[in-house]
Amino acid sequence: MGKKTIFVMTLAVVSIISGLVSCKATESATSYKIGALVSQTGNYAGLGLQALDGMQFIVDQVNEDGGINGIPMELVLLDVKSEATEVTLAARKLDEVNKVIALAEGTVTQLALSLIPVANELEIPSTGISGTALLDNQLGHWFFRPMGSEVDYAFLLLNHMSQYMGISKYAVLIENSGYGQGGKVFLPQLNPNHNLTIAGEEYFDPGATDLTPQLNKIKNSEAQAILIWGSSPTASMAIKQIREMGISLPILTTPAQASKDMIKSFGEYYELQPSVVSVTTKVDIWDQLPADDPDRESFKNFAESFEEKYGHPPAMWNILGATMMLFFADGLERSIPDPSNITEARAELRDALEATKDLNLISGTYTMSPDDHYGGIENNLVLITYKDGQMVYLP
């Protein structure tokens, strides 16, 4: 047997065996372990990493305050690489090896969706970031979605168009993605309530170069405004191309365009008159809220302490990540399960989560029930516009 052969065989055997063995290491349970399934790489890495910061922020805050009844919370992080298969795999690993009490998927709809069957099979209370109500009929016994959905903020946008802009026909530019699909399904259902009709419906791929063919059709349609529905950077780039084409229709957008990065890249086009109107959370503009707004103080605290720690104000996905952890922290506080008996602890936590009542989670106020696992009663979402690189509250 040559040296080369021995080397190769040892390499193969060692890596296969250690790959399997390394998974078996178990840990003792002295904390509430929460599995964080976050995309650190792949198409949605940007959103995943933001959500992770938000999650870590709340966990640190809870622990600084002495944990939950003295027991600290702990995040166990696995990169799911923006792939649905990886979510399934990672969930099983967090279940078996790390014995987590709960799972949180912190990226986008497709990935949250792939956690639902696994969470219900493994019987782990779970939550995921998804801004679409498409999921709500299939959450099952163990999955919760304490997030706003397009139905809520589409209301704001459509209402703004019909009430303040006096518009009856608009064009919609939809991203070919899971998120875009929500808009495609729900907008036609909501339009009649606002006496609106869609004058043009165009699609674009995340990563597309040149949207002029689609935009030209909108330009030549009867649309009086353009609604952009997407979460990729291309959706923000569309605003640049619309203005460069000399189209001066009002533009309305979903929350992803109101991120600091996108404002930095395309802000000058956002601000060209008529300036872009976006949906975002109240946290972004807490300092512009009226002094009597009941949530002003809590948003101020959150935004200021977050900025102090991370050097920038909380962005949308920071807030969504924080929302999930606050949701779990509240459930844990009400149930105080014993982390050493993981099966029972999970069941107790799940029951507590289902009994969540009037809980303010920064992104909204939620009440859950056995047949309502999404339960937003009031979303803390507002409309904003842009001026001098800043967001301006539109009351």
Partner: protein, 343 residues
């Protein structure tokens, strides 16, 4: 009667190649069957992942290694199986088993149609065409949202079931997948040793064959190429269906070019001359990935995805430069060293 070591070696020396083949498959089967007894659910999930990749890679090895063709679009064939299974079971309420079968037939049919036209072309241009076909598939399934669920994917795909067991049960799925993988392995091994396999090798320009020579000998090159492509597609489709019924959700991103590149990597590392290479390549790559995930965070702060990519690249380059036939021939040689009778 004596049972000295010398005697046993003497006896094994007399085993025919065919017996040796079954002996190897037998040992492999026993190994695979006993792994879950000692391992927990997570290592089993990793093994299941290896199984999916192995089946696709095995198909690719037949196409690439036996026939010397290039495919950078196997993710599309894998996706074909997954999506057809998904559509047939969620929209037409067929049994998942029947769906798996029909998906394999359909994917094979597509491969036959595409292959017939595609193989009029030679060599490297196939790489470009298969790459483009992979992109085409991706856009197709993301666009046909009424049929495929579009970018959000298909959900609630029913699991495969047998009596009271379903493929949601990890152990059931493990055995189901690996039994199928081993059956396909036996089929591939026999095929390689058949008239069909030898004809394929004769047209493998990559490893010293010659299409012209084969043609002179009266081998219908086109027919053989198309058939091996169909087989390869059927393998990928079976893996795709199994995958769809296992994860119960599929979305277009899984079937992008990156997956195709990864199976090519596995085939090259494992060794494209034998179906065994598929298991070696898939096992090695998936294990390395798990190892990096396990240990890299201890050494490095921050995301570790970049190290995975670099590791894949370096392994691929090193294997191609120093072991152009992949790992399998080396291991085979090591095992058979003292038995000159084997080929």
């Amino acid at each position: 009667m004596s049972f000295s070591v010398q005697d046993i070696i003497e006896r094994t020396r007399k085993i025919s190649p065919v017996d040796a083949r079954y002996l190897a498959v037998g040992i492999f089967t026993i190994l695979i069957m006993i792994i879950p007894l000692g391992a927990g659910a997570f290592p089993n999930t990793v093994m299941i992942e290896i199984g999916f990749y192995s089946i696709v890679t095995m198909g690719l090895i037949m196409f690439m290694g036996f026939a010397g063709q290039i495919s950078l679009g196997h993710a599309a064939l894998f996706g074909c199986g997954a999506y057809i299974s998904g559509i047939l079971t969620t929209q037409h309420y067929l049994s998942p088993w029947l769906a798996l079968f029909l998906a394999a037939c359909f994917t094979g049919g597509i491969a036959a149609a595409v292959g017939r036209v595609m193989f009029r072309m030679h060599g490297l241009i196939l790489a470009g065409i298969t790459l483009a076909l992979n992109l085409l598939f991706f856009y197709l399934v993301s666009g046909l949202s009424d049929l495929t669920g579009g970018a959000i994917g298909m959900t609630n795909i029913p699991p495969l079931s047998l009596g009271q067991y379903t493929s949601q049960n990890i152990l059931f799925n493990y055995y189901l997948l690996w039994v199928i993988a081993i059956l396909l392995l036996i089929f591939s091994l026999n095929l390689a040793d058949s008239r069909f396999g030898r004809a394929l090798r004769s047209i493998n320009t990559y490893d010293g064959g010659s299409e012209e020579a084969a043609q002179v000998l009266g081998i219908n090159i086109m027919k053989y190429k198309v058939w091996v492509f169909i087989l390869s597609a059927v393998y990928a489709s079976i893996a795709g269906s199994l995958y769809a019924h296992y994860t119960r959700i599929i979305e277009p991103n899984t079937f992008m070019i990156q997956f195709s590149a990864l199976v090519v990597l596995m085939a090259i590392i494992g060794g494209r001359s034998s179906p065994w290479g598929a298991f070696l390549g898939a096992g090695l790559i998936v294990s390395i990935r798990q190892l990096l995930r396990e240990f890299a965070p201890m050494l490095i702060v921050g995301p570790t995805g970049s190290y995975e990519l670099i590791a894949y690249g370096i392994i691929m380059v090193v294997v191609l430069l120093f072991l152009p036939q992949g790992l399998f021939p080396i291991i085979k040689k090591a095992i058979l060293k003292r038995r000159p009778g084997f080929s």
